[in-house]
Amino acid sequence: MNRRLFLQSTAAAAATPLIALEPAAERLDVNFATGPWPFRDLPQLDGDSLKQRGITQAITGSLEALLTRDIAAVNARLAAECAKSGGVLLPAGTLHPLLPAWREDLRRCRDEHAMKVIRLHPNYHGYTLADPLFADMLDAITDAGLVVQIVAQMEDQRTQHPLVQAAPVDLKPLHDLLKAHPKARVMVLNANAAMITTALRGCASLWLDCAMIEGVGGIENTLKAWPAEKLCFGTHAPFFYPESSLLKLVESELSRTLLTALTVDNARAFLGRV
């Protein structure tokens, strides 16, 4: 097929996918981060970089939170960084339940930094979702009126630094935990298709993001078995190129209604916005 015919034959198809990238008054990324990554100099993306890519707001964690013990300082730096973004970056502080006095960090996140979201890294902090400590923390966060993001994995195990390997979080306990803690609002970030179809099967109240959902037509495929109101647009930038998740919205055939659900409504519901 020559170039002209290719363009003509795909023109009808190509016109439709582009609605995914049209300028939008609101497009929320639930999986953004700031701060240094210990093993690589990541691109310096900020609120403006996201706006240039059509993303209006991003729930933003700190990469420092993975390995830094003074997590109170990490959360304070994150809050300061996000405050400079003119409302684009919404800070998600991190709690480390094996550190002494983690409840004070929760208090500061809520009272001093006005954070709405807590982002957890069980596989970098050395606990499991089956530990009673996790259930305690979930209750404390919920009682404080905040919502929770659990990062299932940051990086493919096959490419991790040999001295700092972190297996993905075992998500199986979530099913029963969510039943036992019905008020908790929980989102899992960076779950892959295998986790979604096995460990997370039947977790009807759980939100997910699409950053690590792979496979051709990955979002379309996920939505065959996962509720459309529980999947959110998330980039895992700057660790990933943010264009990856943006293009996933183009690759899958999604109606305008679905696109709005993925990029706006579902994240708003998670955040408890009307």
Partner: protein, 278 residues
């Protein structure tokens, strides 16, 4: 609709001025009862993200160490698929260096006497050993593009799975033959370094997470003319892999070179020999 009508409506991520060929596509991980249906599905999504041509290899069901009957069947499936879409897909023949005579026969059947234009070597046997040499030598005579899967896995490679170091050993024995380093070793910061000084090795960007920096480092260390876009679909999305190029901090001309230019220059000899217009 004319091409000029399309241009202003295209988003920056979907700029139709890019011509995109995908080096690395499979008939697995995509629905469809037949190879033709599966390639049709891949093309449906390829159309949505602006990919013009797919290089397809390996069948509907894989085996790490396929016996001759098995790789012949997989190649039959690719032949069926590309016969249905000859204007959109190129076929690469899957070989197994543990079965040299049968692999040479497959080269004759699928490339010398068939429509395929490349060779795919996977994980049956590491590529540093001499068994593979007759396959490479014959592929060179046929001007076939040569692709070897590689990984540097922190979690340990399969027994027969090559690393980029293994591929360098092979490439030293064929210093004038271009060979593609599949996945750039997956752990790309190691893979790029491993192949840097072996100038006849080319980097396939496919099949790893879209970690920011891969393309910039490959361009910096290898030069754009040694870097090739590929997806590893259906197991991977086109989106995550295209993002490695669309999202990289490089020039538009460099993106075009990676999206099509480098692969095209490797394929030109065999396309010309076979009279394939593309």
């Amino acid at each position: 609709m004319r091409e000029s009508d399309l241009l202003p409506r295209m988003h920056w991520l979907m700029n139709p001025k890019f011509r995109i060929w995908d080096l690395h596509c499979h008939l697995s991980g995509v629905p469809g009862l037949t190879p033709e249906e599966r390639l049709g599905q891949l093309l449906r999504y390829a159309d949505r993200v602006g990919i013009e041509r797919l290089c397809v290899y390996m069948g509907m069901k894989w085996s790490q160490d396929p016996a001759p009957d098995d790789f012949r069947k997989q190649n039959d499936e690719v032949l069926r698929a590309i016969a249905k879409h000859p204007d959109r897909a190129f076929g690469f023949v899957t070989l197994n260096p543990k079965h040299v005579a049968e692999s040479l026969a497959e080269l004759e059947r699928c490339v010398a006497n068939g429509p395929m234009v490349g060779v795919k070597l996977w994980v049956a046997k590491r590529c540093d050993g001499p068994e593979i040499d007759p396959l490479i030598a014959r592929a060179v005579e046929l001007k076939a593009v040569i692709f070897q899967h590689t990984w540097f896995k922190t979690t340990a490679n399969y027994p027969g799975e090559s690393t980029p170091d293994d591929l360098v050993a092979l490439a030293k024995r064929f210093p004038n033959v271009p060979i593609i380093c599949g996945h750039t070793g997956g752990t790309w910061e190691l893979g790029i370094r491993a192949i840097r000084d072996q100038k006849n090795l080319f980097a396939d960007l496919a099949g790893s997470d879209p970690t920011a920096g891969i393309t910039e480092m490959a361009v910096r260390e290898l030069g754009t003319e040694r870097v090739i876009y590929g997806s590893d679909c259906g197991g991977r999305s086109f989106a995550s892999q295209l993002a490695k190029v669309h999202g990289a901090a490089i020039t538009e001309a460099q993106k075009q070179q990676i999206f099509q230019g480098t692969l095209r220059s490797l394929m030109n000899p065999i396309l010309k020999a076979k009279g394939i217009q593309a």
